[in-house]
Amino acid sequence: MKKVRLGLIGMGMIGKLHAETMSKMKDLEFVAASDVDARHQKTAEELGTKFYQSYEEMISKEKLDGVVVAVPNELHLPVGSTCAKKGLHLLMEKPIAADLESADRLIQAAKENKVHLMVGHHRRHNPLIEELRNIVRGGKIGKLVGVTVLWSLYKPRDYFQGPFAWRAQPGGGPIRINLIHEIDNIRYICGDITRLYAEVSNEARKFAVEDTVSISLRLASGAVANIFLTDTAPGNIGYEANTGENLFFYHSPETCYYYFGTEGVITFPRMKKFSYRDPGKAGWQFPLCEEGIKIDREDPYTRQIRNFCGVIQGTESPKIDGVDARKTLEVTLAIQKSGETGKPVVF
């Protein structure tokens, strides 16, 4: 099969990670990368790919099959639509767009131009998450009762300073940046969310943006879920730190998710299953039996790009398409809204 030819737009923190990933993959051609900042040319050269300061120039000069778009959120719609019009398949970094209207327009643009739109919720490509989904959906812990999600990692002072001052402003905080991943994981593993309520606080840092969020969710399956998230308390519980998926975060092998079922409980990412061995001895007075689940680890970013190539070649369907990613954005924005209005949101 002909190798898929890919381009990259945006070489910031996450764009660079995509560039490094693609440069290492043998089954695709990483043709070119672009960024408005010419300083990124050096990185492109080191990775053995062409560099453009203008993405428009890149997509008109190079014969590409698809692009990975990792630009600031407000540019997702214009850049994505322009590429779609050129007939390029899209892997948009998350969130799909800055707001729901932009997401709708981008989905429409992809449809009109008959290109695939995939969104970079990379955690769906982590084998640990896939296995958790199989366990829950396969009934291996019985009927799902509930889920708890904890995220308590401390953002250092410089995270909010200098060119990153926008992170202290509304929209730049843990709901849009971090919580969106937790919402997507819950949706991917458990299904749709039907109702939610959130308390949102900025009392610790007193920035315009939130620092702590507490959420109750109801799922279509009937199960309920809790999320507690704070980026202002020294702690070591949170997906990034616990999975070791990104070693920028200090790796602590703690548990960030508990999945409670009628027949078992799974701790993630430790991937231990707790259940009663003897159904005749099931209850609070009996000990639990612990069982490890073995999973071969693989880099989710590599698997994501591989899925994108498969989508372009027509051999795979996207793990998360535009419509699905729009729902994740919708729920995430609803959390913000519930926090502001003090009212539950029903979907």
């Binding site: 009392e203 020294p234 609070w284 007075q285």
Partner: protein, 348 residues
């Protein structure tokens, strides 16, 4: 040592062990106990105390200073008022009453008759809870930003069967029976709760009573909280399943509570504080330091009853006053109501 003459009312599932503990507490002189069921006389004979079928007769005849009320909840108020009118100090098992208005009546009666109320939230006497409170209120975690509670365990089928089938009905489930303890712990350690929301579900057992709930809280001091509560999933993490303070339940060492502050977090009941020890290396990319606390375990019931004796003697103020017990009940009932209405509740 000056001993306090006490009587106990209600020798049921809770009352009987209470009577046994009271006999062991140095400051207590448990002289009599009453129960409408004559069969409970055996317990009093074993303990060498007098038995009465009618508590009215007991409080009339015995020269008591205080009573320990361990009757069904709906009797807390009438019995408590009758005892208060006799000038007896009151130990009332939790919940203080069935409703906030009943609690008000009881509190008023105690006030008029100048007697004290101590509500039986025994966890406040757990050395673990005392230490957690000291850490949180003492500022060791900086400013409190949040707390999470997991109470997940499996009540076995016999819990709901035969004469116990009332436990399937509304009001007899994990919110009013079990969660009230978590609420009281939260209030004691973190402060007043002023806003809450609850999603409840009974989809697993399909009994009228809830089997699972997800709760979101806001404290007056600005901290937020979540509680996950379920009695239909393997018993991995709950107070009972981790603290080792319930002899009946199997326990292992996990954490049922996490407290988060701007300077550190506390894992409970493992009693580990996490913080950054190097001020130049603070943030999610650095390792975190773990500090343990050495804990001495003591029986919270023994401590609670000796405290009650000191309250009767006027040496100490009740750790859980009538007002305090009422507020815990009020928050718990509000959680129940929010679950029913699907709306958040703001408490005055």
């Amino acid at each position: 040592m000056e001993k306090v003459r006490l009587g106990l009312i209600g020798l049921g599932l809770m009352g009987t062990p209470h009577a046994r503990i009271l006999k062991k507490v140095a400051e207590c002189d448990l002289v009599a106990a009453s129960d409408v069921d004559e069969k409970q006389k055996a317990v009093t004979e074993e303990l060498g105390i007098k038995f009465y079928r009618r508590y009215e007769e007991m409080i009339e005849k015995e020269k008591l200073q205080g009573v320990v009320i361990v009757t069904p909840n709906h009797l807390h108020t009438p019995i408590g008022i009758a005892c208060a009118q006799k000038g007896l100090h009151l130990f009332v098992e939790k919940p203080i009453a069935q409703s906030v208005s009943e609690a008000d009546r009881l509190i008023e009666a105690a006030k008029q008759n100048k007697v004290c109320i101590l509500v039986g939230h025994q966890r406040r006497f757990s050395t673990l809870v005392e230490k957690a409170r000291e850490i949180v209120t003492g500022g060791e975690l900086g400013k409190l930003v949040g707390v999470t509670i997991t109470w997940a365990l499996l009540k076995p089928p016999p819990y709901f069967e035969g004469p116990l089938s009332w436990r399937r009905e509304k009001g007899a489930g994990p919110i009013l029976i079990n969660l009230i303890h978590e609420v009281d712990n939260l209030r004691y350690i973190c402060g007043e709760i002023d806003e809450l929301y609850a999603l409840t579900s009974h989809k697993i057992r399909n009994f009228p009573v809830e089997d699972t709930a997800s709760i979101t809280l806001r404290f007056k001091n600005g901290a937020l909280g979540t509680i996950f509560l379920s009695d239909c999933t393997p018993s991995l993490t709950s107070w009972e399943g981790t603290s080792g303070e319930n002899a009946y339940l199997y326990y292992d060492f996990g954490n049922c509570y996490n407290f988060f502050g701007t300077e550190g977090s506390l894992l409970f009941p493992q009693m580990k504080r996490l913080y950054y020890s190097d001020p130049t290396k603070i943030g999610w990319n650095y390792p975190i330091t773990e500090q343990g606390y050495k804990m001495v375990r003591e029986d919270p019931y023994v401590k609670e009853f000796s405290h009650f004796c000191r309250v009767v003697l006027g040496k100490e103020d009740p750790r859980t006053s009538g007002e305090d017990g009422k507020r815990t009940l009020e928050v718990t009932l509000a959680i129940q109501r929010s679950g029913e209405t699907g709306q958040p509740i703001h408490l005055a």
